[in-house]
């Protein structure tokens, strides 16, 4: 008898499993069109490896991930690629994503397969590579690439390998039926994974509401070291963290992975897929899907090709559209409603519930929280759901995080028991989303601030350098002035009482006269030609004026800023502004003079 531990909280919702276990597993019919999303796993989307019009064989790789984490997508049957386009994929938002469309030709022609009879002769990495090549990603829902999961961090040794046969969600029976009908395949796959990881303990946890599966699995493990642990039925015993606690008494550290405590969980379907990949060389191209709910007349499990539209499965299960209220992908506790039945079955789809009107009634309107604490009693993570609810609702996210919001596994037990019908899980999803957004924004803001501060520092440095240069120039000018004055004084002393300014004025006058004369001469030489030489002058002056005005503007702006910030360079800036004012005035004057001159020039030239 395996020692078992209990986990906190938990609930006992109506199981509703018998509906889909009465019939043996059926093989879903080949659909008219397979829709194969490029991203059915966590990681990078696969890159298309075929073109429209290609004929592909069953099991052929049609998309693969060359860069980053991910697994390839295979053709589930032989046929022709008819399109590569955006189609609705299974997602709570009902979003569309890139899919390869494959029209089956009905021949089911396999590509060449490479089965391994004795995998133990291979290198472990070769086996892991085969698992990757088979496109296997966790089939319990998350879709994490199995080969990567089977390579735990170097410093972590997996002592306990758990296969999760709990299947605690109501309605779903895919794992149950797999264990009943393919127990040997489950165990073979488990043995391959056990060979890779070399754990000291290997255990399959199954809830005690599946006696047939337990019997079949017990028979299949005869003569092996594998334990079959029968665990009490209580939702969510199939949650990874809860199952680990039940079977080992250990808790996965917050924010850590099971390998941190030497444990790994694998899904029943994943184990079967691993076995097929090794012993038959077949990639993951089909999976078990439960079709149930009161809106189908023949509920049951279907061995379904990946890419089969949900609508076709529903049809085979005898959908009565008049009864249908909604479609849930997954179970009633954690599944999400589909916006359309055109979405395909993917590697992680385990169940579709065709909910009839009144079958899973919408909860009554939300009432006030009366702090009754039923949610805390139900929480398998020992959180305080009502406090998390208050803080999420009041957007006090810091407090929500303090109460370990991010440890919430969104199992829905709290919402299930809430007497006030508060959609608690929705509040937590909202808060988590908001916190993630805030963090992303905070990161962005931090970067922007760093950039801004770097720019400010650079501008300041440049300003200082400019100031330095200006001082140097001023000094040089002062020296030159002093020198000139000294010379002038010397000259005055020598008796040449020349007025410096008068002399300058005379020189300018002479220059102007020379220029005028030259212009007149040129005008005489080329009477028809416009006075081209005069024009650039005006342009240059205009430019000068605008530049001076611009500079004045900047200086005034700086002055304003300095005034508002009460900086100590206000006086300096005031002087600079005054100086620039003069400069602008002078430039304007010069421009006006020049214009007058130009206006006179043509007259004189005629």
């Amino acid at each position: 008898m395996t020692q078992l531990w209990d986990f906190a909280g938990g609930i006992h919702p109506s199981e509703n499993k018998h509906q889909s276990t009465d019939r043996p597993v059926r093989k879903a019919a080949l659909p008219d069109l397979l829709i194969l999303p490029l991203q059915q796993h966590i990681g990078e989307p696969a890159e298309v490896a075929v073109t429209i019009g290609d004929r592909v064989l069953k099991g052929q790789v049609i998309a693969d991930v060359s860069n980053g984490m991910g697994v390839p997508v295979h053709a589930p049957t032989s046929g022709v690629i008819t399109g590569i386009e955006q189609r609705s994929v299974p997602h709570p938002s009902g979003m569309a994503d890139w899919c390869i469309l494959l029209q089956p030709d009905g021949e089911e022609q396999w590509c060449s397969l490479d089965p391994v009879s004795d995998y133990k002769k291979l290198d472990r990495n070769q086996v892991l590579e085969r698992i990757r090549q088979a496109g296997i990603a966790g089939m319990g829902g998350a879709g994490f690439p199995t080969d990567i999961k089977l390579r735990p961090p170097k410093d972590r040794k997996v002592d306990t390998l758990i296969v999760n046969g709990a299947e605690c969600e109501p309605y779903i029976t895919a794992d149950d039926m797999t264990m009943r009908e393919q127990a040997v395949a489950v165990i073979s796959g488990l043995q391959v994974m056990a060979w890779i990881l070399r754990p000291s303990r290997c255990v399959v946890g199954i809830e005690d509401n599946k006696p047939e599966a337990i019997a079949a699995m017990r028979e299949a493990v005869q003569g092996t070291q594998i334990e079959i642990a029968v665990i009490p039925t209580k939702y969510p015993s199939g949650g990874e963290k809860q199952l680990i606690q039940i079977l080992t008494g250990l808790e996965v550290p917050s924010g850590g992975i099971p390998a941190d405590i030497g444990v790994m969980c694998q899904n029943i379907g994943t184990a079967v897929a691993v076995g097929q990949a090794i012993f038959e060389g077949k990639p993951l191209i089909s999976r078990m899907v439960t079709i149930t709910g009161d809106a189908v007349s023949e509920p049951g499990n279907f061995e379904t090709l990946i890419g089969t539209p949900v609508s076709q499965l529903l049809e085979q299960a005898g959908l009565r559209e008049d009864k249908l209220d909604r479609l849930i992908l997954g179970g009633p506790m954690m599944g999400y409603t589909l916006t359309t039945d055109a979405v395909p079955v993917v590697k992680t789809s385990n169940c579709v519930i065709a909910v009839a009107h009144g079958e899973l009634p919408e909860p009554p309107p939300e009432q006030a929280c009366i702090r009754c604490g039923q949610c805390a009693l139900a929480c398998p993570m020992e959180l305080l759901p009502q406090q998390l609810f208050w803080y999420s609702k009041a957007a006090e996210f810091e407090k929500a995080e303090h109460l370990n919001l991010f440890d919430c596994i969104e199992c829905g037990a709290c919402s299930y028991v809430c007497p006030s019908s508060i959609p608690l899980v929705q509040y937590y999803r909202f808060a988590k989303g908001e916190i993630r957004t805030q963090r992303a924004e905070q990161l962005k803001a931090d970067r922007a601030r760093e950039r801004f501060e770097a720019r400010q520092a650079r501008l300041e440095r440049e300003q200082q350098e400019k100031e330095e240069r200006r001082k140097q120039r001023a000094q040089a000018a002062a020296e030159a002035q002093a020198k000139k004055q000294a010379e002038a004084e010397q000259a005055a002393a020598q008796g040449e009482a020349t007025d410096d300014r008068a002399a300058k004025a005379a020189l300018v006058q002479q220059a102007l006269e020379r220029k005028k004369a030259k212009a007149a001469a040129q005008a005489k030489e080329q009477p028809a030609a416009p006075p081209v030489e005069e024009m650039p002058d005006i342009e240059a002056l205009e430019k000068q004026l605008t530049q001076a005005e611009a500079k004045l503007d900047t200086m005034q702006g700086m002055l304003e800023e300095a005034r508002t910030q009460q900086a100590d360079n206000v006086d300096k800036l005031e002087r600079a502004v005054a100086k620039n004012h003069d400069r602008v005035n002078r430039a304007r004057q010069a421009l006006e003079d020049a214009r007058k001159q130009v206006a006179e020039a043509p007259a004189s030239s005629q």
């Binding site: 550290p253 249908l324 028991v417």
Partner: protein
């Protein structure tokens, strides 16, 4: 195909707040029945009057606050508040005193704080404490003498007249100090034997009172079994009284003995029906233990050394004050964490 959209979980258990409150009311009926058999019609009249007034004032304020009246009235919480006041008030409390208690409970303590779920204080106890302080005479001289319905208790008409018109008919024969009051005031000058000869102590603990308390205990156990309340608050409450009594009150010639504390006052009603009001109580199991024990200890302290013979209302209100503090320091340890995160964010790790 029009598919309905809904967020998970899609399955819900069917025990809405209204039904939880209905069960609280039903579980209190044995106690009310015992009160009626032992003390006559007074409690039943009080309960009907208080519940009616509670629903009316709740409806009025919901309307003033532009809330859907029917939706909120059907949650039965106002009815429970009225019921608890009716059970707790003296049997011959004048109608206007109980009316003031109900109005203070529903309008001031509940609706002005934002309605159901937002009140920091137990509404019924706010109402009770208010009238106890404001009308001490009315609240101490109107306790019925324990005399069974079929042997001399005032009839329905007389009781109604007493409560609603204030007639002083034969009051002396009807009312009597409560056992705790009697003991408290006599023990200073008498020995235990002398005190216990008073008719109020007939029966095996205190005439009639013990049956009322046992009936409330039975109803309370039903609530625990049905998982409507957890055992933590009542057990800690009673344990607090027991511990205090064993520590300080073993001398019956000086202090009321333990059995009087447990079965002669409002202890069982308080422990199972009043202190367990979830809105104003602590939330985690550890917090509930502290909260319940605090009430028990305060009840004993006030009864023994304070001015009031019974003290559930004050003890509950005082511990209501402490609830946010208790809640901050008693969160459970979350799965995967080494220890619980106590206190407020930024002050502690975990």
């Amino acid at each position: 195909m029009a598919l309905a959209q809904q967020s998970s979980p899609h399955a819900h258990s069917a025990r809405p707040t209204s039904r939880v409150m209905l069960w609280v009311i039903l579980a209190a009926l044995p106690g009310l029945l015992a009160q009626t058999l032992v003390f006559g019609w007074g409690n039943l009249i009080n309960v009907v009057w208080c519940m009616a007034l509670a629903l009316a004032s709740e409806a009025l304020f919901l309307k003033l606050r532009h809330k859907p009246v029917g939706f909120f009235l059907r949650d039965n919480t106002a009815a429970v508040t009225g019921l608890l006041l009716g059970l707790a008030l003296p049997q011959f409390t004048p109608w206007w005193v109980s009316g003031i208690a109900v109005i203070a409970a529903i309008i001031v303590a509940k609706q002005l704080y934002g309605g159901l779920g937002s009140n920091p204080f137990n509404p019924a106890m706010v109402g009770y404490a208010l009238v106890l302080i404001s009308f001490p005479v009315a609240m101490t001289t109107n306790w019925a003498e324990a005399s069974t319905l079929w042997s001399g208790a005032p009839g329905l008409g007389e009781t109604l007249a007493k409560i609603f018109s204030g007639t002083q008919v034969a009051v002396d024969g009807w009312t009597m100090a409560t056992p705790l009051d009697e003991y408290k005031h006599k023990i200073a000058t008498h020995t235990a034997e002398e005190v216990l000869v008073h008719p109020t102590f007939g029966g095996f603990v205190a005439r009639g009172w013990e049956w009322v308390n046992i009936a409330f205990l039975a109803g309370g156990l039903l609530l625990v079994l049905m998982k409507i309340i957890t055992w933590h608050i009542p057990v800690a409450f009673l344990a607090g009284i027991v511990a205090m009594s064993l520590l300080f009150g073993t001398n019956a010639d000086q202090y009321a003995p333990l059995q009087l504390h447990l079965l002669a006052g409002g202890t069982m009603l308080g422990a199972f029906f009043i202190a367990t009001d979830p809105v104003s109580a602590a939330t985690s199991h550890q917090g509930k233990l502290i909260y319940g024990a605090g009430i028990g200890i305060l009840v004993y302290l006030i009864r023994t050394w304070g001015n009031y013979p019974d003290a559930v209302a004050f003890a509950v209100l005082l511990m209501n004050f402490a609830v946010p503090f208790i809640d901050h320091y008693t969160p459970p340890r979350t799965y995967g964490h080494h220890k619980a995160r106590r206190g407020v964010p930024g002050r502690s790790g975990g």
